[in-house]
Subunit: 405 residues, 2 copies
């Protein structure tokens, strides 16, 4: 959505992975859009369905049921939250509406509430469209899934791009005039706004499952086993509405990301179709591009490690994305966290210029493998001057960490 | 060197990682350039050294000795091989000489013999300098460390860039006039040349060690243990002159690449200094950029797998480097080879546009971990539209391979 809003992508059709018609014609799947399931009746194994256009409702039986209800942007419980001019950014429709507003009304001042992925990517989009952009975040940093020192690098880039950052400020409400939001009120100031974007995270749409007494866990997400089955035989769930397992913390974990949802969907589908597949869990990988900067993270960050009562060492290194003499070589900062004593890799964060962030995948793979930082030093990663220094930045960080364990 | 020759890098000083002066002043290491060790005397634990400038020679005692003699480009045993105008490309001096020739003599036609990394990178450099470039390769493809189908993609790119490819042609000699090479003679034709580049691989400089009866192995490279010690206590070796161990084939393996040499050097240094470190081996990773194309490989290729008597499945997929709708998304081809039955990942190859090849590092890390392709499907790799499709190309290939095992 941020790319459509920012005119990076113009054709909204391109954003639709598969239309209902393709589901019907190529896969023989009877997709019914504009139909809402109101209730799951587990004893009778049927669902109550309502056609949201004409209000007609009926009960539909099932042998297997997949709950893939996704998530919804969090709407803050503050005065004025339902005024016009306040946008979440989740569904295709929400993106289309926002872009229409930009094209039609030409708003000049935007305030974004929340400095997560959606907030940051939308900030970039609106800056590129010439708006004055302010961003309000209650924490002392944006991109709270990074440690403060790495998050500070992202803050620097946002300021460089012209975003006005208001950190450690809490949303208290919206000033409304003629039913429209006119300003964002924080605990410290009032920020005039022609347009407000909410990027305060999402919550799983699990009420339907919970109402049927299907167990939920982290943040209310639906509990599933490794095959994506709920505790009820033949009732499956996948995507933003389910709870995941974190392979590094070894604890339940809630994550709402497209690539995780995709993988879970595949596993649920294989099992539902009589096959066998498992989704063992995630390691907490995420990536984003903010203007000229790339940022990525995987595993546990310092706050999470402390929360688990573990001790750790920190290695943070700065080097170049390519051989220093090769054109286009730019700065990359890699931070690695490893368990004290054992040296087990616990997490990693990367912030830097073009060519930096996708290297997080090596750390993610190493987390899946349960590698120690000592084991990582000699990983046979690829080197040629256009791609990397002779020691890949990730290995330089691992080497440093191994020396501290 | 190819980047210096191609004027991608202009300052030759930038290519020197550390000067003798820095070694002396910062590390307190007495570096003597222009001195050659002529003989190792293991019984007396001393070496015969000669100052190559004044011819003075003497014996120097040692407690520990590190042999880091590197490798030398292979010079073919054919008529005319010693004529002027024929260049290898290995040392800094060889690069400086070649660039001087280009700047001064303005040669117009270059013939490159050998389609390995050096040959290809030099082809790109010379094309960029406006020369007519022909490349002779005895195999049916360039970049022989790729399987033929993947190598064909590299051949296509070379032709697109204007390189005249002569595949399945063997070098028979050089036509020489006035002491200069005037043409390259193959078994099929004569190619006029103002300039000849040899890219026929390298051989380890192991004669010094072999003369002292230190054991050598693959391609004559010096045998070392995991600590980079030769069979002689206190005599160490590292870099292009030593034999490595291939962690996938579980066989000795010879590789001459800077990043491997660097890692081995660190391990030898730690041990020589009284510490403890090991270099368990390589998985055969390599990467290169040829004009607009990137190519990388890791693990075993089909030929190597067959040579080990193993059976395997092949998954080759084509997708985009970024989300299909995101600007700059380009083609990437990923090939994965997995052991039949077990599903153990055996190797991978990637060819594609900018943003493709560094993904090989995920496969390299997975090889170190001994993952099966089934285990790889759910790797929590990073996704955002500017970086990847929702399923990373590597995972799409793993998924395909897992279905074939």
């Amino acid at each position: 959505m941020p790319y459509y809003v920012g005119r990076v992508v113009d054709d909204v059709e391109q954003l639709i992975a598969r239309t209902p018609a393709v589901f019907r014609e190529k896969q023989g799947i009877d997709v019914r859009t504009h139909h809402e399931v109101m209730e799951i009746d587990l004893s009778q194994r049927r669902v109550l369905v309502q056609n949201v256009r004409d209000g007609e409702a009926w009960r539909e039986p099932f042998d297997h049921l997949l709950i893939a209800t996704g998530s919804t942007p969090i709407l803050p419980d503050v005065p004025g939250a339902h005024a016009r001019g306040i946008y979440g950014l989740s569904t295709l429709e929400s993106g289309i509406r926002l872009r229409q507003t930009l094209d039609r009304d030409g708003p000049r001042q935007a305030v974004i509430v929340g400095g997560g992925y959606i907030g940051l990517e939308t900030a970039e989009a609106l800056i590129s469209r010439g708006l004055t952009v302010s961003l309000v975040e209650k924490e002392p940093q944006v991109m709270n899934t990074l440690d403060p020192d790495m998050g500070a690098l992202v803050c620097d880039e946002l300021r460089r791009a012209g975003v006005h950052l208001y950190l450690e400020e809490s949303l208290e409400g919206f000033e409304v005039g003629d039913g429209r939001a006119r300003a964002v009120i924080t605990d410290k100031r009032s920020l005039p706004a022609d347009l407000v974007i909410l990027g305060m995270g999402v919550r799983p749409n699990s009420a339907l499952a919970a109402d049927a007494a299907i167990s939920t866990g982290e943040k209310g997400a639906i509990q599933v086993n490794d095959r994506m089955q709920t505790e009820v035989q033949g009732v499956w769930a996948a995507g933003d509405c389910v709870q995941s397992y974190h392979l590094v913390s070894r604890r339940p974990f809630y994550v709402a990301l497209g690539t995780v949802a995709n993988k879970q969907g595949r596993v649920a589908g294989v099992n539902l179709g009589g096959g066998y597949a498992t989704f063992p869990g995630v390691v907490g990988t995420a990536i984003t591009k903010i203007c000229a900067l790339e940022a990525a993270r995987t595993g546990l960050q310092e706050r999470e490690i402390r929360g688990l009562g573990l001790e750790y060492v920190i290695a943070r290194i700065e080097t170049t994305t390519r051989s220093g003499y090769y054109p286009g070589a730019g700065r990359i900062t890699v931070k690695i966290l490893a368990e004290k004593g054992s040296g087990r890799l616990l997490g990693g964060q990367i912030v830097g210029c073009e060519g930096s962030a996708k290297r997080i995948d090596v750390l993610a793979t190493a987390l899946h493998a349960g590698f120690t930082v000592e084991e990582m030093i000699n990983l046979d990663l690829s080197y040629a001057p256009p791609f990397s220094p002779a020691w890949d930045p990730v290995l330089i960080a691992a080497r440093r960490a191994a020396g501290l364990v």
